[in-house]
């Protein structure tokens, strides 16, 4: 089987050796009710309420949603519509911290004896896909009776440049990752559990291999350190050789892909009863004075994380939430750390490329390297013609939005943007 090779993007894993350090408790946290894919959570507190760490403040609205817990102890200051990542409004609970970080008394480890209780526990932990997709984990793990689950693939690829929060989870939190894997094995009963890790993380591979080797049906799969190994369909293909059909789910080929930090979080919850209230964030980029991995309460303004890392240099030109390949450039540093925020990057002016597109020279680089084997330059032509039939024919709906095409394009065509807009065009034409 010919594996999807991907491309060589700079690794920039400057913080891989840095053990995460907790930042001082922020004065105020902003907890959006929608930090995940699906329906927003519903606030269950009122302005003026006293809350403590781990206390439920937003209740999940059904199963394709996730509860939100307070990440600090203090007073609910407001419940308002606040600007989200791309300028959209998101209902958010703002909590003023009292600095005590008193833990909520009601937290007890859930009783888990069967699949149903396990899924309920995962749901109650508030965990969503922490790699960036933010899909509610409990719903992802709810598979139909008819599905023959062959593989659960734990995603430790972390192929995006700079980010090392998953790496640190597999090293510092290795026991929780392993225990989470054991829980998955016990309750979902897949034939195999594989953790896929890029080979530029030898320490993580070693830690995982030591533990996985003790159990039958669990193994570590070393992946080449080439982008985008962590894309879920690429991961499924490279680990199992199975191809996810168009419009299908991973479970159609008997697979589930789940991020390694996500696994550690629900394992921790089931052990201690402490839901997802903080996370490791990689703070890096050429405009950050001292890059670090930090442990930040959810809702902390990202500006405080930068301040904790020695502040920003004067020539900062771009702030990115997430990695440089797929992350979102944001307009300010007031935005809060979300559940899916695995990294925040600040890039200096000299490293921000003026991307002035020139004419496509039809070199075929985008086509050669598309992991989904699409033809981005053809899709761009179809997009400019607004030709829905061609867009369908070129399968733009299958684009994984990994940005490989735009990364490679010598003419700097905004291909990944075109892909997203084409998908939207296709969606609206339906």
């Amino acid at each position: 089987m010919k594996k999807i090779k991907g491309l060589h993007a700079p690794h920039c894993k400057n913080t891989a050796e840095m053990v995460p350090v907790a930042i001082p408790t922020p004065a105020v946290v902003t907890l959006p009710m929608k930090m995940h894919a699906g329906k927003p959570a519903i606030p269950v507190v009122k302005v003026g309420d006293q809350v403590k760490v781990g206390q439920l403040v937003g209740e999940a609205d059904g199963r394709i949603s996730a509860p939100v817990h307070s990440s600090v102890s203090g007073t609910v200051k407001s419940i308002d519509e606040i600007d989200g990542l791309i300028g959209e409004k998101r209902k958010s609970i703002v909590i003023a911290s009292d600095g005590e970080q008193a833990v909520y008394e009601g937290l007890t480890p859930p009783i888990v004896t069967n699949l149903e209780e396990f899924l309920d526990a995962v749901h109650a932990s508030g965990v969503v896909g922490l790699g960036g997709a933010g899909y509610p984990t409990a719903h992802k793990l709810t598979v139909k009776e008819s599905v023959q689950l062959d593989y659960i693939i734990i995603n430790g690829a972390e192929c995006e440049p700079y980010i090392t929060s998953d790496t640190r989870a597999m090293v510092d939190d290795a026991d929780n990752v392993f225990e989470g894997a054991l829980l998955l094995k016990e309750y979902l009963k897949p034939k195999k559990i594989v953790i896929g890790i890029e080979n530029n993380k030898p320490e993580a591979i070693k830690e995982m291999r030591e533990r996985m080797a003790t159990v039958d049906g669990m193994e570590v799969c070393e992946l080449p350190a080439r982008y985008p190994q962590g894309e879920r369909k690429v991961l499924v293909y490279n680990v199992t050789g199975r191809i996810v059909p168009e419009g299908g789910r991973l479970t159609d080929v008997g697979c589930i892909v789940i991020n390694c930090t996500t696994v550690a979080v629900f394992a921790h919850y089931i052990k201690t009863g402490m839901p997802l209230v903080s996370r490791v964030v990689t703070v890096d980029g050429s405009a950050v004075n001292t890059p670090k991995n930090v442990i930040a309460p959810l809702g902390t303004p990202i500006g405080e994380l930068f301040d904790f890392c020695g502040g920003l240099k004067d020539d900062v030109k771009k702030i990115i939430m997430g990695g440089p390949m797929m992350g979102a450039a944001v307009p300010n540093t007031d935005l809060p750390v979300l559940k899916i925020t695995n990294a925040i990057l600040a890039i200096s002016e000299k490293d921000v490329e003026a991307s002035k597109p020139t004419a496509c020279i039809k070199c075929g680089r985008c086509t050669a390297k598309c992991p989904m084997r699409l033809m981005p330059s053809h899709i761009e032509d179809a997009f400019e013609l607004k030709n829905i039939d061609l867009l369908k024919k070129y399968k733009v709906n299958m684009c994984a939005e990994c940005s490989c095409c735009a990364f490679l394009c010598p003419a700097r065509r905004p291909l990944s943007q075109v892909m997203v807009l084409s998908k939207k065009m296709l969606w609206e034409a339906k």
Partner: protein, 306 residues
């Protein structure tokens, strides 16, 4: 904090750009440039300079007059001019060389929308236009030191004057009559290896093109080594047929393209009126690239049949 830029992902880039690619092509052509001056003397340098300079001026002038964005800094006009010069005999009247540049840049490249939009290779089309317009000047070959006859080896093959045929080594080094840049396979191969190593081109077109010519001429009993080394096959296969907009974008398409070029070259050389067929073969294949692209479209991973 300063105002920050907001743009869509990706936020990093692999630094390749059109001008970098063209610069690599120019670097790859430099051994052949040195070779042509060594073999044909200073007049070769004059022809090359005229072609490159006029190509750049035509591109600049056209874009000024038509109020289009200036693109001479992407170096593609230099590449076109250089490739055109490599396709001309050393004694070509300079005004004809300039005319050729004009055809390449204005007629073939700019009229069709500029870089990336032309359907036929500009330098090659200009060469063919000149071949038809100035048949005498385009097939009058200068004496080359060391070579017995000034005729190109392929003309020798066609006329049956095989006693004047240079040795295979001389053919390989380029010490024989012919166009400026086409004679030295050694220099061209160095350039080709450089382009493949820099991933500017893939091996598919040159290998399938040259391989097809070798195998077919061997089958037809036509001295395959001479057929390989005698004409413009290497410059065509490495530098002309691999031109991005006029060749297929997928590797399977490139194999088909090279195969077709090789097949047509042999047909023209063996049965045609012209001793050389590389230009016509590539131009013909240029025209059917859209069909090859359609035929070799990638099938999306897991995509349903449309």
């Amino acid at each position: 904090m300063n105002p920050v830029t907001v743009s869509y992902a990706p936020h990093i880039h692999n630094h390749a750009s059109t001008s970098h690619i063209m610069r690599d092509v120019l670097i790859a052509l430099s051994p052949a440039l040195a070779g042509s001056v060594l073999i044909f003397g200073m007049r070769a340098a004059v022809v090359i300079f005229m072609c490159v300079a006029s190509a750049v001026v035509f591109e600049w002038g056209y874009q000024k007059i038509m109020k289009k964005q200036e693109t001479i800094s992407d170096l593609s006009a230099c590449v076109t001019g250089l490739l055109l010069a490599f396709n001309l005999p050393v004694d070509i009247p300079l005004w004809q060389a300039v005319f050729g540049s004009g055809v390449a840049i204005i007629l073939v490249k700019q009229f069709f929308g500029g870089i990336g939009k032309n359907f036929a290779n500009p330098a090659l089309t200009a060469r063919v236009v000149m071949l038809i317009s100035f048949p005498t000047a385009m097939s009058t070959w200068a004496e080359v030191p060391n070579a017995v006859s000034s005729a190109t080896p392929l003309e020798l093959v066609q006329t049956g004057a095989l006693q004047y045929m240079p040795s295979n080594l001389d053919l390989f080094l380029g010490l024989h009559g012919g166009s400026l840049g086409e004679t030295s396979e050694l220099a061209l191969i160095i350039g080709g290896v450089y382009l493949i190593a820099r991933r500017v081109i893939t091996w598919h077109i040159p290998v399938s093109f040259i391989g097809t010519v070798y195998i077919l001429t061997a089958i037809l009993g036509e001295q395959p080594t001479v057929q390989l080394l005698a004409g413009g096959l290497f410059i065509g296969a490495i530098f002309m047929a691999t031109d991005y907009p006029t060749s297929p974008q997928t590797n399977s398409g490139r194999l088909i393209f090279g195969l077709g070029c090789g097949l047509l070259t042999v047909i023209i050389r063996v049965w045609g009126n012209y001793p050389e067929g590389v230009s016509f073969a590539i131009l013909f294949m240029n025209c059917i690239v859209p069909f090859i692209n359609k035929l070799t479209m990638h099938h999306a991973l897991g995509g349903k049949k449309a």
